[in-house]
Amino acid sequence: MKLALTELRRRPGRFATATVILSLIAVLLMFLGGLLDGLIANSTGAIRAQQADAIVYSDTAQASFVRSRIEPDVRAEVEAVPGVTEVGGLGNVQLGGRVPGNGPRDLASVVLFGYELAPDGVPDPPPAGQAYADDTLEADGVEVGMTILLGPARSPIEVIGFVSDTNFAGQSGMWASVDTWRTVLSENRPDAQLADGVFQALVVRGGTTGDSSLPDAIDAATDGATDSYTIDEAISAIPGVDSQTTTFNQIIGVTLVIALVVIALFFALLTVERTSLYGVLKALGAKSSTIFAGLVVQAVVVTAIAATFAGALVIVLDLLIPPGSIPLLVTPSRVISSIVLLLAAAVIGCAFSLRRVLRIDPASAIGTTS
C-alpha cells in the first residue's frame, strides 16, 4: 500500500489522463443527479412543503387536483377521524402570468394555490388579491410589489414576498388566500369553479390511534369517498415524477458503468505495463493480495481526487446559475452519494485486474532478457 501511494506521489503524471477522464464523468454524474433533483423539486415542492401526515383527494381523482372535489360533509368526516388534529383545504389553478415589462407572449408559468394551513416556509395566507411568489419567478422578472395578471381574465395578483421551493408540476408556485384562489379560478376557469367550502384536496395533520396508517384510516372513515396519501405517496403520484426519476436513474446508472469501464481499462493497462515490476515484487515475496490492494488504493485515490474536484465544480456551477434558468439543484447528499458510487465503481473496476495480477509469474523476473 505504501508502495502504491509513493508511486502516486512521485509519478502523478502517470495517472493524469485517468483523473481527467474520471473528473469529466463525475461532473456528468453529479450534473445529471442535480438535474434530476432540480426537476423533481420543481414538480414536488408544493407538496413537500405541506407539513402534513396525509393529503386527501376525492376517490376518483387519481391524485389529480383538477379531477378532485372534497365536499364539506366529507371534510367533516375527515376531521372526525380519531388522531386528526388539523385539517386545511388546498386548491390550485394553473395559468399563464403576464409580468410587467415582458412581451405579450412571454408568459410566466404559474400555479396559484389557495391554502388554509401554511406550508413550511410560507407565511399565513395573505390578504385578498395578494400572494407570495416562489423565487424562481425572479428569473421571469417578478419583483416584490409588482402586480401580475393571471390567465385570460388577467386577474391581478400583487406579489408581497418570495418563498422558496414551492413549485408544482414544473410551474412556479404562488400562494394566496382561499378567497383569492376561488376568485381567480372562477374568473379564468368558470367551468371548474368550486362552491364555498369545496376544495380540491385536504391537508391533514395528526396520527393514528390504531394499527392502520392515517391515510387508510381517513379512507375507511369516509367509506371510500376519499383517496388519501402520505406525502411521499402524493409526490410519487404527481404526473411525470416517477417516470422522470426512472429515466434519469437509468442514465446515471449507465454513466456509472462507463466510469467502471474506464477504471477497469486504465488499471488493466497499468497492470500489463507493470507485469515485469510485479514479477520482481512477487519474487521478493510480495503476495498477490498486497499487489492487488495497491492497485485498489491507487484507483480509490484517483477517483476520490476526480470526484472531489467534480463536486466542487458542480457546486460552483449551481451558485453561478441564476434560479429558474436551469432546474439544477445540487445537494450535499447528491454530491456525497455520487462520490460513494464512483468509489464503489473504482473498486469493482479494479477487480478486473485481479486475475491478471494472480497470473503474474515471479519466475518472469528471473532469467534472460529478450
Binding site: 505504501k2 520482481v280 515475496g285 503476495k287 519466475a363 528471473i366 532478457t369
Partner: protein, 230 residues
C-alpha cells in the same frame, strides 16, 4: 579426533522439473539435479542459454516448484511448500539479484532496500537501520535519496545487492550480475559480491555464462540440457 559438520545453505537431491506440452510430450528443464552448497559457499552455475540455469535457481529460490526431488534451504524443506508458504520463504530466506537489476523506478535507493521489509515483516526502525547500514557498507550512503535513474549502472547493481541482503538471507541468487556491465565494472561487482557474501557467511549461486568471472567463486558447476556435471 573430532569431525565437525559444516552447515549447508542448500541441498538439492534428485530434482526434476518437467513441463508437459500440449501434444502429450514433455520438456525436461532440470533432470535429476543434485547440488549442495555450504553455508558461506559461492558457486558459479555455468551453462549455455536454455541449459536449465534459471530453472535451477528458480527452484532453489522458491519461485518454482519441482516436479520431483527434495530441496532444503538452510533448515527448511521447501519440497512440498504451497504458493503461500513459498512466498513467506522468499520473504525470509532468499535474496535475488536479477539480470536486469529491476529496481523499483520510483523509489530511491534506500526505499528500494526497504521494500523488502514493506512486503514482509514490516519491522519499521530495525529495517531502516539495516538499510542505512547496508548502504554505508556498499558505499552508497550519499546516494540514499537518489532514484535509480540518477545512479550509474554499477551503483544500481550495488543497490540490488543491498536489497538482496536486507532480509539476512540464507541464500542469495545472482542471475547474470555482470552481463550488462563492462569488464572492469563487472570485476568490481564480482569483488563486491565475494566480499559481501564472505563477510556475512552467506551462500550464493551466481548464474553466468561468462567463464571470466568464475574465479571469484569457490567452485563452478556446469549445466547442459538440464543436467549438472557429476
Amino acid at each position: 579426533m573430532t569431525t565437525t559438520t559444516v552447515a549447508t545453505a542448500l541441498r538439492m537431491t534428485d530434482v526434476r522439473k518437467v513441463y508437459p506440452m500440449g501434444d502429450g510430450s514433455e520438456v525436461v528443464a532440470l533432470d535429476h539435479a543434485t547440488l549442495t552448497l555450504g553455508s558461506d559457499e559461492i558457486v558459479a552455475l555455468v551453462g549455455p542459454s536454455g541449459s536449465g540455469k534459471t530453472t535451477l535457481c528458480s527452484i532453489a529460490g522458491g519461485i518454482l516448484s519441482a516436479t520431483e526431488g527434495r530441496i532444503v534451504v538452510g533448515d527448511e524443506d521447501i519440497s512440498g511448500h504451497d504458493a503461500k508458504q513459498l512466498t513467506k520463504f522468499r520473504q525470509e530466506k532468499v535474496g535475488f539479484v536479477f539480470q536486469s537489476v529491476n529496481l523499483v523506478p520510483f523509489l530511491n535507493a534506500r526505499e528500494n532496500l526497504l521494500v523488502v521489509d514493506e512486503l514482509g515483516k514490516r519491522t519499521g526502525k530495525p529495517a531502516r537501520d539495516r538499510a542505512d547500514q547496508l548502504l554505508e557498507e556498499l558505499g552508497l550512503a550519499d546516494r540514499a535519496k537518489n532514484l535509480p535513474s540518477q545512479l550509474s549502472g554499477g551503483q544500481r547493481q550495488r543497490v540490488a545487492i543491498g536489497r538482496a541482503l536486507m532480509n539476512d538471507p540464507t541464500l542469495v541468487l545472482f542471475d547474470e550480475p555482470t552481463s550488462a556491465l563492462d569488464t572492469q565494472l563487472g570485476e568490481q561487482v564480482m569483488e563486491l559480491i565475494q566480499n559481501e557474501m564472505k563477510s556475512r557467511g552467506t551462500a550464493a549461486i551466481v548464474v553466468t555464462h561468462d567463464e571470466r568471472i568464475t574465479h571469484y567463486c569457490d567452485r563452478s558447476v556446469h549445466i547442459v540440457d538440464g543436467r549438472l556435471d557429476a
